[in-house]
């Protein structure tokens, strides 16, 4: 975990967290992280509910659980048919039973009217390419504030230059959702490192495995999967190993895998590092929600004392 410590020095103590065996799906590499489970946090799908959209750019979320604090996942968004899809620019705490209105949410569907309602929801996390800009726009009111960036991203993907995130997420949902099977969640997994085409893309840590499991699809399919799919490489040719006999083949496979794991460790070691600015945004009892900003990464973290409870950090 030394490399993680250098990636985010200072407030993000990842003591007790361990990196697992990497998995790959095309351009996307995921390194599972296991670690201590912090009890008492409400998971985002079963506990956190979108109660309504008050007006464009104004989203209300409710922690419907009888106990436990909810950490609103950073850059979570909701999609429904016949309603203006919305995403949040920031994380937040919600006490049990609490409803919170986010006035700085973004509409992510330029020419669709209608308000999201409480039922029939599925959620995503903003694609990696939009996250730095969305974080900059936290606290800024204006439902259309992310449309230009969405349009630019669509154009980069060869799609019509419009502020419609659904062009990326909804229309390609069947292929994007395959990432949750192309990369398999590990038992006890509380987080993951993500690399896109060999470059550090993000670090995600959840309070416990149940919380992370509920984030899994939103992260691998949409936050990182969308970019990975657009960078999907041709499958490599099946070059035979130079091996004689079954034992020789097993040895060759082992050595090859060790080499690739070492290569991935090298990607992490090579990830840009350095000092970051940490700004506290919210607190709940002894929990602190902070925004991390540095030249190489940004995002938000939740710490409790010297423990990291939640982190959603991405390369800039």
């Amino acid at each position: 975990m030394t490399a993680l410590d250098t990636l985010v020095p200072g407030p993000l103590s990842l003591a007790g967290h361990r990196l697992g065996t990497p998995q790959q799906a095309g351009a996307l590499t995921m390194v599972p992280i296991s670690g201590p489970a912090h009890p008492g946090f409400v998971p985002p799908r079963t506990g956190l509910k979108l109660s309504r959209v008050v007006g464009y750019g104004q989203v209300e979320l409710t922690n419907g659980a009888p106990s436990g604090v909810a950490i609103v996942p950073l850059h979570i968004g909701y999609i429904q048919d016949h309603a203006q899809n919305h995403a949040l620019c920031r994380s937040a705490f919600l006490a049990a039973g609490q409803t919170l209105r986010f006035d700085d949410a973004c509409c992510v569907q330029e020419s669709q009217g209608g308000y999201l309602t409480g039922g029939d929801q599925w959620f995503f996390v903003l694609p990696a390419e939009l996250r730095a800009r969305a974080l900059e726009l936290r606290g800024v009111h204006g439902y259309s504030k992310l449309w230009a960036d969405i349009a630019e991203l669509n154009a980069r993907y060869g799609l019509p230059r419009r502020g419609h995130l659904e062009q990326i997420l909804s229309r390609q949902r069947p292929v994007l959702t395959q990432f949750q099977s192309r990369l398999e969640l590990q038992p006890g997994q509380v987080g993951a490192l993500f690399f896109l085409a060999g470059r550090f893309a993000g670090l995600e840590i959840a309070p416990d495995p149940a919380y992370f499991a509920e984030m899994w699809a939103a992260l691998v399919c949409f936050a990182y999967g969308a970019a990975a799919w657009h960078a999907e490489p041709e499958p490599p040719p099946a070059v035979p190993y130079d091996a004689a006999g079954l034992a020789g083949l097993r040895g060759a496979l082992d050595r090859d895998r060790s080499g690739r794991i070492a290569e991935i460790a090298g990607w992490l070691a090579d990830a840009p590092a350095g000092p970051v600015d940490v700004q506290e945004e919210d607190r709940y009892l002894d929990l602190r929600l902070s925004t991390v900003t540095g030249p190489h990464l940004a995002g938000q973290i939740v710490t409790g004392g010297d423990r990291t409870v939640y982190a959603s950090l991405f390369a800039r």
Partner: protein, 441 residues
């Protein structure tokens, strides 16, 4: 005969045989069929009956069997060829059979076994009257080729004059038939120029492949009894009655196959994706487990190598490459990889291992059985080793095609496949007999 290659061809290459007016028979894969027949006439003919073989390929098998000489074949082999040809004439669309018989005319095939099959088709098919009404000129050609034009017309003349059992008719025509009393009326109809313009010939008289009811919506529990019961067990249902039923369902499914006297090593993907989620939860894994259970009864020895988690607790990543190496280490006759196709650790490893096996001196065949949600899953991102033979399955009924395909890949599977297809021929024969009592082979 390369059984896996030939079977794959028979199941996929469905281009019609054609007879251009005044031209030669167009038969684009004649060499393949001829070589397979020469190598193993009985095995070749039986393979034409395998579940899933395309109708035009079955027509080619019929054509090859009737076109080739039986000189030098023993009586048992001739009997199998005859019974196979008879079943095919009843199990193919009549128009296909007519094309074959007209093709034999172009090929000038005049063997006695050809004559017998052709005459029985023209005069004793359960739909013979309707066929004659609809395809009279073509059937006259088939009839005259079978007997020779002069003999055929001589027979027809005698029948028109009231002869039904003369020595002439007996020696030249009736001895080839099983129901000679029905022949005169049909021969009169063949040469009655006043008929014609009837409806198209009916479909096959005998169903060679079991008709399957495809549910309009595939769910986790309408994929066969074994998988449905497993889904309820996985969900934590009352286990005693479910376990009892499961045993019955597996026994019944396994009873459809002969015993395989070899060893199959099954690499069973028990990763998290095999469990699935939402309405599809357990659907794919239950189908894979159903296959394992049936194989455990069919195979003398079944070695199961689970990758990821285990069948009751699927979890983690899929390491198919190491699973295959572990499976090969058990010394099997065949390695079968059962997976949804998502290889996580690392993608491409199975393909590299598969590519290395021949170089490493490993000759054990490895096949990939794709566990699907429906028969039409998008597999673009789910092909971990394109060079391996692969076949999908999503329903218990698919086992009828899957097992012959799997076991046909290994040498130890050859006697199994022959036994399975002989049993199938016996069954088809019995059903053919039931179509028209007295119409025995």
């Amino acid at each position: 005969m390369d059984t896996p290659t030939l079977l794959a061809h028979l199941e996929t290459h469905d281009t019609p045989l054609t007879l251009p007016r005044g031209g030669t028979l167009r038969w684009d894969d004649a060499d393949l069929h001829r070589a397979a027949h020469t190598d193993d006439p009985e095995g070749y003919a039986l393979l034409g009956l395998a579940p899933g073989v395309r109708p035009w390929q079955r027509a080619r098998v019929l054509l090859q069997v009737l076109n080739a000489s039986q000189a030098g074949l023993d009586q048992a082999t001739r009997a199998v060829l005859h019974r196979t040809a008879r079943v095919l004439t009843l199990g193919l669309p009549p128009a296909h059979v007519i094309t074959v018989l007209l093709g034999l005319r172009r090929l000038r095939a005049n063997h006695k076994h050809t004559t017998r099959i052709a005459l029985r088709f023209v005069l004793e098919h359960p739909g013979a009257d309707a066929l004659i009404a609809a395809r009279r000129p073509a059937l006259v050609d088939c009839f005259e080729h079978a007997l020779g034009t002069a003999t055929a017309r001589g027979c027809a003349r005698r029948i028109a004059d009231g002869d039904t059992a003369s020595d002439y008719l007996q020696r030249r025509l009736l001895r080839f038939l099983t129901r000679p009393h029905a022949a005169p009326a049909r021969i009169r109809a063949l040469y009655d120029a006043g008929t014609g313009g009837a409806a198209a010939p009916p479909g096959p008289a005998l169903a060679l492949d079991t008709a399957r009811d495809r549910p309009p919506t595939v769910t986790a529990t309408n994929r066969g009894d074994i998988a449905a019961t497993l889904v309820h067990l996985y969900r934590g249902g009352p286990s005693e009655s479910l376990y009892e039923a499961l045993g019955r369902y597996v026994d019944a499914a396994a009873a459809a196959f002969p015993r395989f006297d070899g060893t199959v090593a099954l690499v069973l993907d028990a990763s998290a994706s095999m469990r699935g989620y939402g309405t599809r939860e357990w659907a794919v894994l239950s189908q894979a487990a159903a296959l394992r259970m049936v194989l455990s009864q069919v195979c003398a020895r079944l070695e199961v190598v689970e990758v990821g988690g285990d069948e009751r607790a699927p979890r983690g990543a899929t390491d198919l490459a190491m699973g295959v190496l572990d499976a090969l280490g058990t010394g099997p006759d065949l390695v079968a990889v059962v997976t949804d196709g998502y290889e996580n650790l690392f993608p491409g490893d199975l393909a590299r291992v598969a590519a290395t096996l021949p170089r490493a001196g490993v000759t054990t065949p490895v096949v990939l059985c794709h566990a699907l949600f429906t028969g039409s899953d998008d597999l673009a991102l789910r092909r971990p080793a394109p060079s391996l033979p692969q076949r999908g399955f999503w329903h218990q009924d698919d086992f009828a095609e899957l097992l012959p395909w799997m076991l046909g890949h290994c040498a130890a599977g050859a006697p199994w496949l022959r036994a399975a297809l002989r049993a199938r021929l016996d069954d088809l024969d019995r059903r053919a007999d039931a179509l028209a009592p007295g119409l025995a082979a």
